[in-house]
Structures are given as C-alpha cells and as structure tokens.
Symmetry: C2
C-alpha cells in the first residue's frame, strides 16, 4: 500500500470525433504522467462526447470504438479511467467506463442509472448495467460510477458496504445556475456519512444548447472538499492521496464564482464553443441601443475577440437618437466593426407592395413586424455575403411571451440570452460593467426604460407587466410548474397572471422555430420543456 496521485482531466470533447478525443486523452495522459500521476480519470463518454444523441445509432460506432481502444492501449505506466459506448454483439449499447492499464482492460463498468427526464434521453440509447465495478490498485479500494449513479443513494450505499475507499465518478453534468456549488454540497454529506472519497470529473464545454461547466472536485470521506477545479475551462489537475491521513491533499483549488460571474462566464464559453466549432470566422449582430443586444455584444467580444465581431445598427423612424448614440459608443469602446443601415426604404417598399392588399386598414403589429423582418433580412444578407454567424439577441422573458418577431429579431443561429430572464440581463450588464474602469455598456442603456422602438414612444411596459413581476410569474409557471391558481394565490394580480400564462401557451410555435441558445436555468425551452404545439390543455392547470 502506498500513496498515489490522481489526475482529473476536465476536458472538452468534440461530439462524435472519437479520433480527436482519443488523441487528446493520450496527450493528457502523457501530461499527467509527467506530473507523476498514477491514475487519470476522464469525463463520462469521454471518447465520443456528451450528448452524441442519434449519432449513437450510426452503424460505424463499434468499429470506431474498437480503434479507440487500440490507440489507448499504447499508453503505458498510467491507469486510464475513461468513458465509451460499450456495444455488445446483439447491438445493445451501454454507457460505460473502462479501466485500462498498459493495454490491459482491468474492468468495464456499465452505468446503472440512466436519466431519461429533463434534458436527458439516455434510455433512448442505452441499456442499464446491473453490476458494480470494484477494484484494488496500489492497495487502495476503488469503485467506478457514472454521473446519475452518484445520485442514487442505493448505488453508493452498496459501494460503502463493499469497503470501497474512493469512488471514481465520470460525469457529463449540464450546468445550471448554482449547480457547481449544489453538487459539492449534496455530495458532502453523503461522502461523510458513508466514509467515501469521491473523485468527480466533469465534462466542460458548450454543446449546442447545453453547457458543461466542469467544476470537477475531490471530496474526502471526512466531508472536506480536497480540491475544486475551475469552471468553464479545460483543466488537468493532479492531486495527491496521503496514506497517513487517508485523505486527498488540498492544493490550489479554484474559488467558487459569484452568481453573475458564473452565468456570464457560462454564456461566454457556450458562445465561443458554438461559433468556433461550427467553423464560422466570426459573428454579426444587430445592435439596437437596447440592453439585450448590448449584453450580447459584450459576451460575443469576450468569447471571440473584437476582431471577430461585427455590429450593425438598423434605425427607423421610431429609433431614438440616443439609441444610435449609445450603440455607437459601445461599439467604439469594444473596438468592433460597426455599420449603420437605415431601413426606411425597405419598409416603405414593403408597404407600397402591400397597399393593394391592405388598403387603408389601420396599422397594427403587422407594420411593426415589417421593421423587425427588414432588419433580420439585412443581417442574414450580411451573414451570407461575409460568412459571419448571426447571433440572436432576445431574452427568455420575451421569448416566453412571444414579445419578439419570428424571422425578424429572432433570426440567427445562436440566441445567447435565450434562457436568461430580462431581470438577469440587467444584472449581467451591471456585472460586465463592473469589470472595467470605463463601463463597456453605456450607463444609459441600462437605466432607460426598455423599448422595442417599433412605434412612437413605445415602452415594453405598455404591453407587459414590469419585468420583475413578469419574470416572477414566468419562473413560477415554467421552472416550478405551478398552476395559475397557485401563482395568483401568491399575491400576483389575477388578470396579469392569466394574460402571461396565455401568452406562454400560445407562443410555443414561435419558440419552436427560434435559434438554439445556452441553457442556464432548471427548465429551458425546447429540449427540456417538450410541449405539443397544438393542444387544448386548460390554461395554467
């Protein structure tokens, strides 16, 4: 029995690119060896990345997995614990982990608890395993678990009864606000009560709408946090196990992030990964002088660098002079390319073409949508011509109630604020401004009353309740699944609650055609809240 060093390889796999992931795993193993690590642990399904969705059904998977093993077999003098898809001859797949040393498979573990709720669909792809994997190495007793297994008290109690000392847990645990701390806190009591050390290695990186935050950690059986890895970046950490204290030894842990820093960094990473992994040279967005596009611009610049970001202001009659001024100011402060394209001639040509159909019918939201759609088409034309990806700038509050124009301000490949309520948009803008002496977002953008500027003197609050009220109702309805009756019972105005819920219900079709965007809440739209478009469920029940 001797002390040992364990390496946590918090890395960001390329979904489906087994070859490049395995190459990266080998590099990380070599790096860990240089730091004298005895064992290296990778995230869940590290060889293929999580979630690979229906790519898992492609016929070449097992052949390519076999090739991955051949390559990993070449690694010497360090034990590898990594994730892969274990497919048997009947074609049944398991979400599995292999323990590999010097070309010998010392054990394979098949995940026993397959999440199939929220954003997860593991029962679509995998069969459940039914056996623990416990092994001794250097006189120490280890077990392997995969993500959801760790949250099954049953699984982990059994490991304790099997005299396991350290659990190696491979994870692809999606981020949501507060989740990094929440994981540590939840594991703390279990770990202490069952006298288990937990080595928790999480995937990091943005994958479509999902964010994996990393925030890997090691919890000692004493309930002390031995190590915390940084969030939102790749990191290789080598941690010592001390034989005398029977504990992992604390060393330069990351500091847990404040909430706004955490959210902001999550959006930056998600945007960077989406844009760069889609192979786009940069992004373009419409800068309106409002807070949503201002925040989106800041995130884009922090994600990609100012030279990769193009902003366009597209004013119309109802655009305030201060909007143009503020957009200009922010673009200059952030050093991005900035252009102005007036949309009057375009809107007018639509109105003239439509006159034979519309006659003198009074203007309504149709004419407002024409402005938004002229802007959307201009952005797409600039994107088509120069190759930059369009970022959509709408927030969750708007999208929830449909206060946005399909094919207008909703155009774009990635909607950075899609899961961010408007109240949080304000907080994030203030947070970003607090990072530099000269705030990058002009103060007035944050303080003036929000407006879509689609008709004279329009304010969001003419059509919607104040955002703090709106967001509280939305949160109760969407995230907490509360009924209309319950929400009114909390003291909100009944007519307001009914209106908001009705708007959420009837705008499902619009959200379904919206761009994807990073999930930061406990219930984001689309992947996680799967509502039929056509349905007659009684409102708010």
């Amino acid at each position: 029995m001797k002390s040992f060093k364990i390496a946590l390889a918090q890395f960001s796999p390329r979904i489906g690119n087994i070859e490049s992931n395995v190459q990266k795993m080998i590099e990380l193993a070599n790096e860990a060896k240089q730091q004298n690590a005895d064992i290296i642990i990778f995230p869940e399904l590290s060889s293929i990345g999580y979630p690979a969705e229906d790519l898992l059904l492609r016929p070449s998977l097992s052949k390519r997995t076999a090739q991955a093993f051949e390559q990993l077999n070449q690694v010497q003098d360090i034990m590898l614990v990594f994730g892969f898809v274990n497919q048997n001859e009947q074609g049944q797949r398991y979400n599995s982990a292999a323990v590999l040393k010097d070309g010998q498979v010392l054990g394979v573990y098949n995940k026993q608890n397959l999440p199939n709720y929220s954003v997860f669909d593991e029962k679509r792809y995998f069969q459940e395993g039914h056996q623990h994997l416990v092994f001794e190495y250097q006189g120490h007793r280890f077990a392997v678990l995969i993500c959801e297994d760790l949250w099954s008290l049953n699984s982990i109690q059994q490991l304790s009864q099997l005299q396991v000392e350290t659990v190696l847990c491979l994870n692809a645990s999606p981020y949501e606000v507060g989740k990094p701390q929440h994981r540590v806190q939840s594991i703390q009591s279990v770990s202490k009560e069952l006298h288990l050390n937990i080595v928790y290695c999480n995937q990091v990186g943005g994958q479509d709408d999902l964010i994996f935050d990393g925030s890997s950690f090691i919890m000692n059986h004493t309930g002390e946090l031995a190590y915390l890895a940084p969030s939102f970046k790749e990191y290789l950490a080598v941690v010592d196990y001390d034989l005398e204290s029977k504990c992992f030894q604390s060393k330069d842990s990351a500091t847990a992030l404040e909430t706004m820093a955490e959210i902001y960094q999550s959006l930056v990473m998600a945007t960077r990964d989406y844009v760069t992994r889609s192979g786009f040279p940069g992004v373009i967005l419409g800068l309106s002088g409002g807070i949503d596009s201002a925040l989106t611009l800041a995130i884009a610049v922090d994600a990609l660098g100012a030279d990769k970001v193009q902003a366009v202001m597209m004013p119309y009659t109802y655009t305030a002079a201060i909007s143009i001024e503020d957009a200009n100011t922010q673009a200059q402060r952030m050093g991005v390319t900035f252009g102005v394209a007036e949309i009057h001639p375009i809107v007018n040509s639509y109105l003239q073409t439509l006159y034979p159909f519309f006659g003198n019918i009074a203007a309504d939201s149709t004419e407002e949508n024409l402005q938004a759609r002229s802007r959307g088409t201009l952005l797409m034309a600039l994107s088509n011509k120069f190759g930059n990806l369009v970022l959509s700038t709408g927030n969750k509050s708007e999208l929830a109630v449909g206060y946005c124009t399909l094919y207008g301000d909703m155009v774009g490949a990635y909607a950075v604020l899609k899961d961010v309520y408007k109240s949080i948009v304000f907080e994030l803008a203030k947070y970003r401004n607090s990072l530099e002496e000269t705030p990058v977002i002009p103060e007035r953008v944050i303080t003036r009353p929000p407006s879509a500027e689609l008709r004279p003197d329009q304010k969001d609050q003419d059509a919607l309740p104040p955002y703090d009220v709106l967001d509280a109702i939305l949160y109760a309805y969407i995230e907490e699944d509360q009924s209309q009756e319950d929400i009114i019972g909390k003291g909100f105005d009944a007519a307001t609650v009914k209106k908001v819920i009705r708007l959420v219900d009837i705008n499902e079709y619009k959200r379904r055609q919206g761009a994807i965007g990073p999930r930061i809440s406990s219930r984001a739209f689309t992947r996680e809240r799967r509502y039929p478009i056509v349905n007659e469920w009684p409102a708010g029940c």
Copy 2:
C-alpha cells in the same frame, strides 16, 4: 355464454382536453349502445390524447383524471375499455387502460412495453407495468394490451397460455407509408399461430408532426381479417362475435388504399387538423408556378375548402411567364383567392441599402436569398394582417440538402411536404390530377424541369443530382442509416454521394428552425432524427 357485439371507437382526441375527450367518449358509448354493443373500446390514452408530451408532468393531471372517471361512471349498460394516465400516490405514472362497467372499475391494465425509440419517449413519462389483465365477460375470455405490448411476442404468448380468446388492444400507432397494411399483415400470423382474436383500435387525427391513421381492425384467430376500419377519419364500427364459429363477423370493411391515395389523404387530414385545431380561419401560401406549391395548394383546398385558402404569386425578374400563367390557372381551377405582388422594388431597396457594405462584390446566393426572404416577409405580413396561417411548401429532398432559404421559402407554421421526397411530390401531383376530369394542377407544372427561379435559366439539376438519384441516396442515408461507403458500393457516383451526405450533415441548423410538418416516412427529421447541430462525426460513417 352468448354472442356479443363490440364497438371500435376510432376517434380523434384533443390533446390535453380531458373534459372534451370524455364528453366525446360518452357520446360514442351512447351511439354504440343504440347499435346494441356490449363493449366499446377506445384508443390508447384516449382521455388525454397521444402524445401529450410534457403536459403529462403538469400538477393538475390526477385531479382531472379523477373527474373523468366520475363522468364515465355515469355510463350504464355498456362496458368501456379506455386509456388514461394512472398516477399513484408517489406520483409515478402508468400508461393504462381501465375496464369500466356501470360505474365499477373491473380492472386496470398498466402498459408493460414502453417504446422509447423513433418518435416515442414513453420512458420519460411512464413506469412499466408488470401484470396482465385477463377477465371474463359473457362467458368469453378477454385480455387488454396497449400498442407496443402487441409487438412483444413474449406478452402475447403469455396471453395465449392464459387461455385468452380475444385481445382488446388500445393503440396510438403513428402512420407511415404502408403502415396500415403492415400492421394487419404482421398480426395475421401471430393471431393464427396463437389462436387469438385481436381487436385493434387506433387513434386517428393529426397531432403536430404525427399522423394517426386509424385503420383499426379485427383479426380472427383463424388469421382472417374480420373487419377493417377506414383510414384518416373518425369511425364507430360495431362488430358481432358469433358463438358458433367463434369468430367476429365480417361486415362492410374499408378497402385498403393505394399508396398515393394513402399518402395524399394522410397529408390532407394532417393539414386540416393542424390548421383548425390551432384556431386559424384559413391559410395563405406562396404559389410559384412550381410543383411543390401547386401540390400544397391542392392539399390545402382539399383539407379546408377553397374559401379558406389564399394564394399569392410573388414574381421577380427570373420568374418565367409560364410560371405566372400556371399559378393563375391553378388558382382559378381551384377557386381560391389569388393575388400578385411583384418583389422588384423590395429586392432593389435591399440591394441599395446593402451597397455601402457589398460594394461591387459579385452576386452569389446572398442575392438569391434576398428574393426568397422578401417573399417570406410578404407572406408573413399578409398572415399577420388577415390572420391566415402560412403554409410552407418545401419538400423533404430540399430540406435534407438545404436547397431552401431559412426565413425565406421556409417561413410558415406548417410544412405540408416536409417529409415527402420530391419524387413522391410528382407522383402525388399526378394522383391528385387523376381524380378529376380537368386536372387541377396544370400539366406543365408537372412536366417542366424544376427550378427555384432565383437566377436566369436556373434549374434544380444544375446544383443537385437528378431527383431520382438524389432521393435514392437520401433514403439510404436517412431512412436506412447506411454509410457513405455502402451507398457508393450500390453503384452511385462517389462524388455525388459525398456531396449529398455533406449537405445533409451541414444543414441540421437550418432544419432545426424549419416549421413542423406531417411525418409519413420511417425517419422524419427533428423528432425522430435527433442529431446534434455541432458535431464532428466523420461524414457518412
């Protein structure tokens, strides 16, 4: 022991509207009683409709289900066999059937085989049942199964061993081409081998992208089809069981449909249900003189009536005179409102506004997209102003390879031909024309070479392989999950196959933002083919 009559209630539930579905079920039970039926069987989950998706997670479900039972308890003198969500006190849900007579629950069956592949996500919502329900009624031995259970040989063999005579099977089995016949044929041999009569009652109606065809049937244990209900409409059939022959007695069965009739009727029903159940007064679509919009128009008129359909022709420089002529002819023949809106001034205003950005860079697909997006915006404006829902007219071949413009010709709430390959579009157009002496679609629309008319003398075949080749490659790759290598091995040109597969792969983001549309194939996009947008899976592996 005596003869009895069984009623199959092939009906179309309103998703989530338990109250109205139960009301309808009571009416159908009364109608069946008037025809002296002893038993009435409804489809799977008939009280809430299938699939209710995440509405099943709403907190009011069990209270509303209890109310449904109270109402159904009032029905006298007929046995009801219907579907409901059975929720226990721990909140676990089962996909269940109740056998109810004169206010007494004679038995409850929990579905044992929960499909969680293809379009199905039942493990997201339900627990598996573990017990058969076998009961005697009027001296006859019945069992209840729910949909997937019937396709589990294990389940049905057990029923045979339990001396069951007739299986009552409640279904919500989604349509795909040939499925009505396929079900009957598959059940035939099982039924005969195990000496079981099978009473198969299927849901009917369109629900978002899913089509339920009905096509309910009764198969005798002799392997003879006793009864076949019509496809694509609600129907109440009362069938006699004859004690002497121990068989159900054949009576006015529907004739199975020819393939094109089957597909056409499926699209008509899906379109009607989507539009009317979304509460729209009618539809609008862009009529280009091409075959896709011509077929979509015919389907819309057959679904809703000519007075509910508005067609708009939006010509530009590259629109052939015969396109305008043919569009006009079809609109007249079908008796729909027809308008013309030239898009020159709009496209020009875009080009002028973009000139400071584009300068003299050569025209490319950017300018083509401007035409498509001008049209999309006009359609949306007409929809916003007059309230008609926009039907999108693109087909599966286009959508697969991205030969369409996002926010342009892709605008719309419902894409009628979304899952119909171009080769089938031609067949369907010919089929529709064969129904009337004067073909509703001008012959030239079918015979001229397809063109998007976005530049001079453009033909689809300049950019794409001939549609029969394209569709064969797409079918092998999408529906059959074949690899690039396999498809080339079948004799297709290697460069063509590679190009097509690459186009399918890179256009996932575009499809994700497209309108939903009725599924008729064994692998439709989106709900059923869940590919990550960002992924590095090697092309065609």
